[in-house]
Point group: C2
Chain length 215, copies 2
């Protein structure tokens, strides 16, 4: 059974899933990259970036698990890029260069239509204008039995959580204070929505919490 | 220099510092005791409760540190007991029996005057009706050079944080979802208030974050 999963989602000690003012300079908002300080040093991520070395402990294993058995992704518009409003042209093709780390279909939530973009390495960006349910349906179909991963941002995760559509959610609580940003949990009652903690793993640079929707 | 410290303050994955409806049945609110599941099994706490055994690892060490060099405590009214409104009589003397675990002066914030209560073991409960600054002043004086610990609850911690009066804050992020309760960080910008993470310690049952106000 194909699942909808959130993986490696960084949350600050003070509960923020992203910083403020996300944009070209700060894809995850001001200081939002601090949420991923456990992720960037891993061998897994460095290898994806064609870099040598990296750490090989718990955080690395958890980072890698997040990419296993994923057949499609869903991203919020701001996770795809800094462009707001209508697409001015076709030039923006994501933060990740010619060969993005997805290597499968990626469904981008937006209010503005745009033709799909085929990238190197198997990533195809599709733009979905008719809402999160449609994006999920398309992604599940494209995943061909594998799982679908919601890549963020915080707003997209919150929308899917509220609809009880996420089956598994891995948050990495990072030892940073953001002070301001997007509160991941605000006005979301995780217990009423049916979620529970299934596993806790202490990493080198974050505490990993694995949450699951009860059957 | 005497400091104002918060220690061993449990916070859920979803950011709550207490459950809802705190009262006689649930001193920390519904399911609030889950925030302290890292604390109750420690040898330190069990010894205070005159119980044998207990765990002796990281969580135990951290729990113990929270009681070192403390000369006085400040508690919110609801941390002291379930009585709301005017004191109906003198019968309620705290949750802790004849010999509370404080063994020093404890200043209880309340809107209703009451005479001090001298308990066994050195604990004396004083009732402060003229606000958090007065309580701090009295506690610092009573502590005779040692530190003052704010014992909670969440509302009291938030009040002192907002006034930038807390020097050191140790939160234990516990692997539980409360779903509802008192959000510790809501509308508090910890960075703007001048706080930073100084140390992260992975315990057996919680992630310990040590925060400090920058000088």
């Amino acid at each position: 059974m194909s699942k909808l999963r959130v993986q490696s989602f960084g949350v600050s000690v003070d509960g923020f899933g992203a910083g403020v003012n996300s944009g070209l300079e700060h894809p995850l908002g001001v200081r939002g990259e601090e949420l991923m300080q456990w992720f960037f040093p891993t061998q897994f991520w460095r290898t994806m970036q064609k870099q040598e070395g990296g750490e090989t402990g718990v955080d690395n294993r958890v980072a890698q698990q997040g990419f296993e058995n994923i057949g499609a992704w869903i991203l919020g518009r701001n996770m795809f890029g800094p462009v707001r409003g209508p697409w001015p042209d076709e030039s923006w093709k994501g933060w990740w260069g010619d060969n993005p780390p997805y290597h499968c279909p990626v469904f981008v939530l937006t209010h503005y239509e745009r033709a799909p973009i085929e990238m190197k390495g198997g990533t195809v960006f599709h733009f979905v204008t008719d809402g999160i349910h449609s994006a999920l349906e398309q992604a599940k179909s494209a995943a061909r039995g594998k799982d679908v991963r919601v890549g963020g941002g915080a707003s997209t995760v919150r929308q899917y959580l509220r609809e009880r559509l996420i089956d598994e959610l891995h948050v990495a609580i990072s030892p940073v204070l953001l002070g301001e940003g997007e509160p991941l949990w605000r006005d979301i009652d995780m217990r009423a929505l049916g979620y529970e903690v299934t596993e806790t793993v202490m990493g080198e640079r974050a505490m990993h919490e694995f949450l699951r929707k009860r059957a």
